[in-house]
């Protein structure tokens, strides 16, 4: 009898140790290698971030998507666009494979937490994989491939319209991809959707006019003719399209609701923070005359990320409730079988501590994305972007590589303003 009791206690102790070990293993170690890269990136040491990522040979399947996303963005930042494409295409492929729900991972997550499952990315993050792929393909002049990504992004817009509403930058980029490849009617449709989303669409009316005219929609074009005539740039002029990423993406933190004695509902939420406005002024390197953009579209990734997480809220609550019920049943079953209240209290404590929300997220994203279109005369240009904080405070200057433009040429550049 005494031996049997001892055996039960031993098993219980082993199970508890296993749970504690699993908890620390899952939440603590897996994201470790990524942490150094993110830290280096935000300390304005992007090359160190690249080195840190290169050292990661094998990461848990749970964090593979995050690794591809972070690598893709850091490579983009240092101008290694082809490498960025390779990583983000891996992310895109993985997202497709992850559409199959893993029964083993989901079952395990019901008694532990969501860290045990493979990270699938928020709807917004999945869209931004295609956004960065579009930018990369445009930057390396692969316009047909950029259009393929635009179509992938459109599929996500159609699938999750509420979660992704307000991502005007990506919508503008999709329109640009269509326009670049000569599909003016599709470009016009996307510009129209963008105009609806923006509310005040005066900034893109020249784009609406141009694409309507090229699509042969004279009556539609007539609506925007007045605004288009305000565009004073020479029709034969070249164009610089500048992608600007500003600030730091919001991070997920843990939100908690405690119900005594030991039921804990935990959920991920984005941290609240104040985002300071930033202005980007483009001017010739040796002059102080700023250039005016023909059109400007921006997206607060911070806001879209929050919307996207909120849209998934009902799913999170349902799973959280199921997990709390299962954990409570486990604790009660242990109470019935085990007379030693010390062990039961310990089990309840372990289950409570294990209830950690999945706060994984793509952390190297900017807080805001801007798409600025500058008409430029054909010829050689040496330009700089002057960054000013709210209130006109000077922040930094970014010198763009020399541009050699022929008439009608459209070139792309991407810059990142870190906080």
């Amino acid at each position: 009898m005494q031996e049997s009791k001892l055996k039960t206690r031993l098993r219980f102790c082993l199970a508890l140790t296993g749970l504690v070990f699993a908890f620390f293993y899952i939440t603590g170690c897996t994201s470790g290698p990524l942490r150094d890269a993110r830290k280096a990136f935000y300390s304005n040491r992007p090359l160190e971030a690249v080195d840190a990522l290169a050292q990661i040979n094998d990461l848990s399947y749970r964090d593979n998507l995050l690794l591809f996303m972070e690598k893709g963005l850091i490579f983009h930042h240092v101008g290694r666009y082809e490498d960025s494409i390779a990583e983000l295409l891996k992310a895109s492929k993985l997202m497709e494979q992850q559409e199959i729900i893993s029964l083993s991972q989901q079952t395990a997550s019901l008694v532990t937490n969501d860290w045990i499952t493979a990270y699938k990315g928020e709807y917004s993050e999945r869209l931004w994989v295609h956004t960065w792929l579009m930018m990369n393909f445009l930057l390396v002049s692969k316009y047909e491939s950029a259009l393929v990504e635009a179509k992938q992004a459109l599929k996500l817009f159609e699938k999750y319209p509420q979660a992704l509403a307000g991502d005007d930058f990506t919508r503008g980029l999709i329109a640009l991809c269509y326009e670049n490849t000569g599909y003016f009617n599709d470009a016009y449709i996307e510009y129209k959707k963008l105009a609806e989303s923006l509310g005040d669409s005066s900034a893109i009316k020249p784009d609406l006019y141009r694409t309507a005219m090229k699509s042969g929609l004279a009556a539609e074009a007539g609506k925007y003719k007045k605004y288009a005539s305000e565009d004073k740039s020479d029709p034969g002029s070249a164009e610089l399209i500048l992608f600007v990423g500003m600030g730091e993406a919001p991070k997920k933190i843990s939100g908690n609701i405690l119900i005594p004695p030991s039921v804990r509902f935990s959920f991920p939420q984005y941290e609240e923070r104040l985002i300071r406005g930033t202005e980007v002024i483009l001017m010739p390197e040796n002059a102080y005359k700023s250039l005016s953009p023909r059109s400007s579209v921006s997206t607060s990734l911070d806001r879209v990320a929050r919307n996207s997480l909120q849209y998934r809220g009902s799913q999170i609550i349902a799973k959280e409730t199921a997990r709390a019920a299962i954990k409570e049943s486990l604790a009660r079953a242990a109470e019935r079988k085990n007379k030693n209240t010390g062990w039961v209290v310990l089990l309840r404590a372990v289950l409570l501590v294990m209830e950690e929300p999945d706060t994984r997220c793509w952390q190297t994203l900017p807080a805001t994305l801007k798409l600025l279109r500058f008409p430029l005369n054909p010829g050689t240009h040496r330009l700089k972007a002057v960054i000013r904080r709210e209130g006109g405070e000077y922040a930094e200057e970014i010198i763009l590589p020399e541009l050699k433009l022929s008439p009608g040429q459209r070139v792309y550049r991407s810059i990142r303003v870190t906080p």
Partner: protein, 206 residues
């Protein structure tokens, strides 16, 4: 005895489980015939490329008015535009079509992809390093009579959201190919091939 049997049964179960796990994870390879039609999902693959090329080359060789001309026409093969929502290397299709037509011996081709290299090589030969009698003659290149071009398109459709264990999706591909007479600007020949496929994917996996 009973205890021994129980222990043996447990050991057997453990060993069997290990066998399943390790056997399942073993990597294996095998050669397959390139002519064999194989599809893992509804997406474009090498079997489709072969089908597309075969379906378009035969009518071009047999039915097009150009096939019967006494002098073999010169063709410049331009790329096939990818209008699908997948990253498909359409260069593989154009290369295969060019190769099949070339082997038939009824057409001649100019290499539009090598034009820059030809210009560089010619410039090098006239740069002073190559003996005059060895230099290629300038302005002796063949001019194309026709342009061969095409477009690959796709339409995708997925089953709407509902409670089920598998998700079906439909994919339709069409590739149209046309020959344009450079002199007149008229389309001398056009044809297309279509592929439609339904695939079913599980929603839940292990």
């Amino acid at each position: 005895m009973t205890r021994f049997l129980t222990k043996a049964a447990r050991l057997f179960t453990l060993v069997s489980a290990c066998c399943f796990v390790f056997a399942g994870c073993t990597a294996s390879t095998r050669n397959i015939s390139a002519d064999q039609e194989m599809h893992y999902d509804e997406a474009y693959d090498f079997s489709d490329k072969k089908k597309i090329v075969d379906a378009l080359v035969s009518p071009l060789l047999g039915e097009s008015p150009l096939a019967e001309t006494a002098e073999r026409p010169v063709i410049a093969v331009y790329g096939i535009a990818n209008e699908t929502s997948e990253h498909i290397n359409t260069g593989g299709i154009t290369d295969a079509i060019r190769e099949a037509l070339f082997k038939a011996g009824k057409f001649r081709f100019v290499s539009e992809t090598q034009r820059e290299n030809i210009a560089n090589e010619t410039a090098y030969q006239y740069g002073g390093n190559v003996a005059p009698q060895m230099r290629v003659e300038k302005a002796r290149q063949a001019g194309a009579n026709y342009i061969l071009s095409g477009t690959l398109r796709s339409i995708e459709k997925e089953e709407p959201k509902q409670i089920r264990l598998t998700k079906k999706s439909l994919r339709y591909y069409s590739l149209n190919l046309e020959l344009t007479d450079i002199k007149s600007g008229l389309i001398a020949w056009a044809d297309s091939v279509e592929i439609a496929r339904e695939a079913s994917k599980p929603i839940i996996g292990w």
